[in-house]
Amino acid sequence: MTLTTVRRGRATWERALGWLSVGLVALSIGMVFLYAPSDRVQGAVQRLFYLHLPAAWLAYLSFFIIFLCSVAYLVRRQPRWDRLARSAAVVGFVFTTIVLLTGSIWGRPIWGTWWTWDARLTTTLILWFIYLAYFMLRAWVRDTERAARYAAVLGIVGFVDVPIIHMSVRWWRTLHPEPIVVRAEGPAMPESMLLTLAITLVAFIVLYLVLLIEAYRVERMKDELAELRLQLSG
């Protein structure tokens, strides 16, 4: 045996964050099923709200990160900003998919349909397609610097959809309910539901960080790999 096998490890704080997310997710699931009261009108299916809302906020957050990183990349031209934007895009795509699926599953027993071309649903689907376009653009443009530049422009333009999604329930007549948590008059739900939502939101944020850190690690290693291949071929 001539070579030492190296196993890529993770920093202690990263492992701690991972275990924290596991604990918080377990706590939030327990609270959703055992602590939060059932909705009188919708029944048990209303508990999907505790997945749907945090996932939606994190999908918006992802696009906000992409927006900031895209601006930073176009100004500074440092690859790390592009790398972070790429990582946030993948994680954001995952959370947007969850929003669409949980919304559809929730809508079936309440609205009687899996899908309707409602303003909120349609603008969220557009967000999902913007993410998809972002990946396709990167895959099609061969030159990495040019791909990063084009993707940054799409990341900035695509962010426009986020405030439109948020305002869609006010601007158009929709089937989707108006916000019940973030509103001028204060949240329109009992404290036990709010506490459950708060815990679930914290669990999702920690989980989001774990996924973002891991996605960033993958992107950094892929960049390193591409650079090394270039060195060896040249």
């Binding site: 190296v6 196993r7 920093a11 999907l48 995952v94 699926l101 989980l207 892929k222 291949r229 060896l232």
Partner: protein, 69 residues
Amino acid sequence: MQDSMIYLFVGFFVTWLIIGGYLLSLRRQVDAVGEELEALRRERNPTSIVRLSPTDTIDASRLATPEEG
């Protein structure tokens, strides 16, 4: 009510399946790209000792023993 519960469980199942699957795919990518990186580093500089970052760990059971040379 019974139907409502089915939708609730399907929603939770789908969500955690997606998140779990994505996390697993990330871990696999880290391992696969990491292995490829190490191979290319060795190819670039065959006599060099593998560089370790402060967060890397060595699997002690895989180290060469004196008998093996």
